[in-house]
């Protein structure tokens, strides 16, 4: 379980810390600068900038869940028991709700 050889020291904790900090700083920098090209380009219903934010967020979430919460080192069956409901239900819900939101916006006009 937790006593794998790779977890002898603390370096892996600080590695993830620097990754999370780096990604967050990058996001904040993009958020302040608002590069025109990224704001102006539309991809899948929103700006390219927003898509980049969402991808970076998922990267951060991955590091937190897999390393900090140790899920990456649990048994495969446990890993999927926990991840699958979220990976199926959340995109499903988002798809329905956001499509409906878009439709509601058209109906208002």
């Amino acid at each position: 379980m937790a006593n794998n050889d790779e977890h002898k020291g603390n370096w892996w904790i600080w590695k993830v810390f620097w990754i999370l900090l780096g990604v967050t700083s990058f996001e904040v920098a993009l958020g302040i600068i608002q590069p025109e090209y990224l704001v102006g380009t539309q991809v899948l219903g929103t700006s390219l900038l927003n898509q980049i934010f969402i991808i970076l967020t998922l990267v951060k979430a991955g590091y937190i869940v897999l390393v900090f919460m140790h899920l990456g080192f649990e048994k495969k069956s446990l890993k999927w028991t926990i991840l699958l409901p979220a990976l199926i239900l959340i995109p499903y819900l988002l798809f329905i709700v956001l499509t409906e939101g878009d439709y509601a916006s058209i109906m208002m006009q």
Partner: protein
């Protein structure tokens, strides 16, 4: 239990198919349900955002302040809050890690620092809420419940600036539609920015104002929201409030665990799994914040 051999199949009981303890499994199952709850809230937020499109307030106009600094500093303060929470997540992993090595003193040190981080985050959130409720630029609401702002040279100005008072001097200001209207009439350098974020010059602004202005909004609450669409404030209070409540419960649980660590409960028990379980909860709180940060402040 310790006699369990490989001959017993995983499905006959008495074995642990997941190689994780009961407590840890249940914490994970709770976290799944909690994750789905938060996704429902954030999807709801997404629905309203898609529905109201251009009228939805943009975060750069809303969260612009930093303690002890003047002027606009969008994103900086939430970036700091994010940093505090990531940092407290790191101290939490360190506490769990030293728990595995049965080093009581180091567990106490890192657990205490985690609690300090949680408390700092809660303090920051209180400050953020205070600012959000107090408001920044004030705005005017129309008969159709749209919100527009005072502008100057095609940039957001504020009702305070138009009226020539300091909005952050600690006193409560009240303006009625007539006096703001008179000020707008007589100060030709001011215009307005209507709810879809287009700017009107002075002449058009005065016309729009006289036709539509109904109420001067100061700050945000569950009824009115000077930043724009009213739902924005409702979602803000509800989602960051629900997250803040998780942080608050996390701090309380961490305190209880810390007391147990100091008393030597887990030393006697032979393992620090309780620290690991509360650690899972604490990281989850950080995980939720990562999403709240993105969808409220960045996107």
């Amino acid at each position: 239990m310790s006699q369990t051999t490989n001959e017993i199949s995983n499905w006959e009981g008495g074995n642990r198919p997941y190689v994780a303890s009961y407590g840890k499994l249940m914490m994970w199952f709770f976290l799944i349900t909690d994750a789905l709850t938060f996704s429902a809230f954030l999807s709801g937020y997404g629905f309203s955002r898609f529905k109201y499109g251009e009228v939805w307030p943009s975060a750069e106009d809303v969260f612009t302040h930093f303690p002890f600094l003047h002027g606009d500093h969008p994103l900086l303060f939430v970036a700091l809050m994010t940093f505090i929470l990531i940092m407290s997540s790191v101290t939490m992993v360190l506490a769990v890690n030293y728990g595995h090595k049965m080093q009581k003193k180091k567990v106490i040190l890192w657990l205490s620092l985690t609690i300090v981080g949680g408390a700092m985050f809660l303090g920051s959130q209180a400050w953020e809420w205070g600012h959000f409720i107090h408001g920044d630029k004030a705005a005017i609401q129309t008969h159709t419940l749209e919100v527009f702002h005072i502008a100057k040279d095609n940039e957001l100005s504020s009702v305070y600036e138009l009226m020539g008072v300091d909005g952050h001097d600690g006193t409560h200001h009240h303006f009625n539609v007539q006096e703001v209207g008179e000020a707008l009439h007589s100060n030709t350098e001011y215009g307005i920015r209507i709810s879809d974020k287009t700017y009107l010059d002075h002449e058009a602004a005065v016309k729009y104002y006289d036709k539509n202005a109904q109420e001067v909004l100061i700050g945000a609450n569950l009824h009115n929201n000077e930043y724009g669409q009213g739902l924005f404030a409702d979602y803000f209070f509800f989602i960051t409030g629900f997250h803040g409540f998780h942080v608050f419960s996390g701090v309380i649980i961490l305190l209880i665990i810390l007391i147990n660590v100091i008393k030597g409960t887990y030393e006697k028990r032979g393992h620090y799994e309780m620290v690991e379980k509360v650690g899972l909860y604490w990281h989850f709180v950080d995980l939720v914040w990562v999403f709240v940060f993105t969808f409220f402040y960045l996107v």
